[in-house]
């Protein structure tokens, strides 16, 4: 009896997970496919780029500066043991462009923009704005979800590149300005090693994937909220947790595909 109940519960839980996955997939498919809306689309997209991109700019830039400074300090302390501090620029830039730039800015983006998205859409659902849209014949997925999804995919790579540049600047301040690594050695070692297609372009792709995944999770969690204040707070937490995990997991997969086998 109790064992049967347990098994039934397990099955039910599985059904809920698969059902949610299906709903999330349908939302993203409906949002990305379908005819573009040239009348309202651009204005909606710009508004979302503003709230997702411009508002995230400050936290991205400040974190980037400190990450770059820390990388330069730690890299210097390690490299000086091998008498190879000239490789500092190379070490810092490879770490940043390939991994830390996309990943850290994605984690910040999940906390800063993803949670806000979930709360916003969750509140729309709780106050029945989504239902009202359907009543007056506006498709909430095209009106609400699509611009947010595209804004995430467009804003993330830009944020990650800004993060990289600011972090590099931080590394130059510490490495060249403070620790006295030669500026020429710093830059030429970096330029000798990095390649645009392999390092920078792959970083851009990573960031775009992260942006899409984070916004997808955030939008779905908002859409799937239990429409109470507790439900919204839970959904917001889930967005941050799930999208952070998704970013780190995807990063491993993408790295394995991009840099794994040479």
């Amino acid at each position: 009896m109790t064992i049967l109940d347990q098994i039934a519960k397990l099955g039910q839980g599985g059904l809920v997970v698969v059902g949610n996955l299906g709903r999330a997939g349908m939302i993203v498919a409906l949002a990305l496919l379908g005819p573009p809306d040239f009348r309202h689309g651009p204005a909606l997209l710009i508004r979302q780029l503003y709230s997702v991109g411009v508002f995230s700019l400050l936290i991205i830039a400040v974190s980037g500066l400190f990450v770059g400074m820390v990388l330069a300090l730690q890299g210097y302390n390690l490299l000086i043991r091998f008498d190879a501090v000239e490789a500092l620029g190379q070490a810092v830039s490879v770490t940043l462009v390939r991994e830390l730039g996309p990943v850290i800015s994605a984690l910040l983006f999940a906390g800063r923009a993803g949670s806000a998205l979930t709360a916003e859409i969750g509140l729309m659902k709780a106050t029945e704005q989504l239902a009202a849209m359907e009543v007056i014949g506006v498709d909430p997925i095209r009106r609400v979800v699509r611009p947010r999804l595209w804004a995430g995919i467009i804003a993330m790579p830009l944020l990650a590149q800004i993060f990289n540049v600011v972090a590099l600047w931080g590394a130059v301040i510490i490495g060249v300005g403070w620790l006295g690594v030669g500026a020429d050695a710093f830059w030429t070692n970096m330029q000798d090693y990095l390649e645009f297609r392999r390092d920078i372009f792959n970083g851009v792709i990573k960031a775009a994937v992260f942006g899409g995944v984070i916004t997808w999770i955030a939008v779905f969690q908002g859409y799937n909220t239990v429409p109470t204040s507790e439900g919204i707070s839970r959904a917001t937490t889930r967005t941050v947790v799930y999208s952070s995990l998704a970013v780190l997991g995807m990063d491993f997969l993408l790295t394995a595909v991009m840099f794994g086998v040479n």
Binding site: A43, I46, R47, L49, Y50, G53, V54, L57, F82, D83, A84, S93, V97, I154, A155, P157, L158, L159, Q161, I162, N164, V165, L168, W187, M190, Q191, D192, Y193, L194, E195, F196, D199, I200, V204
Partner: protein, 154 residues
Amino acid sequence: MQSRAIELAVGLFILAGILALAFLAIQVSGINREFDSKSTYQLYAEFNNVAGLTRKAKVTVAGVQVGLVTAITINPESMRARVDMVISSEVKDLSEDTIAAIQTAGILGEKYIALSPGGALETLSDGDRVHDTQSALILEELVGKILTSRATNP
């Protein structure tokens, strides 16, 4: 009025992102390195062993960089490594008996190719092969040689 401000802010954001990408592309990955321009010519050389040499490695004459390695492939007939390089046209009178040697900057440093011009009157031109080569110095082989020689004549 307010939507105008938003458009401006988003425009600035996108501009900043694209500028950051351009900065990374040009300054960090060094797309604009001078040896990519037209005022260069090609040479190639075959080595028994190029272990550790990479694309974009430096090519130097007397320690001054004059070019870089563009490709490393295997010659399927001789089973030797073929290294293609571009050399700045300013250095056009390399003699035909120039020696190309793979050297290392410091013990742990990167590998590069050092060209040492000889005394022949004929000079190398675009597409020519540098015949005399010295392969990369491999530390393990060197240590192995020392050990075996010590073992045979103590």
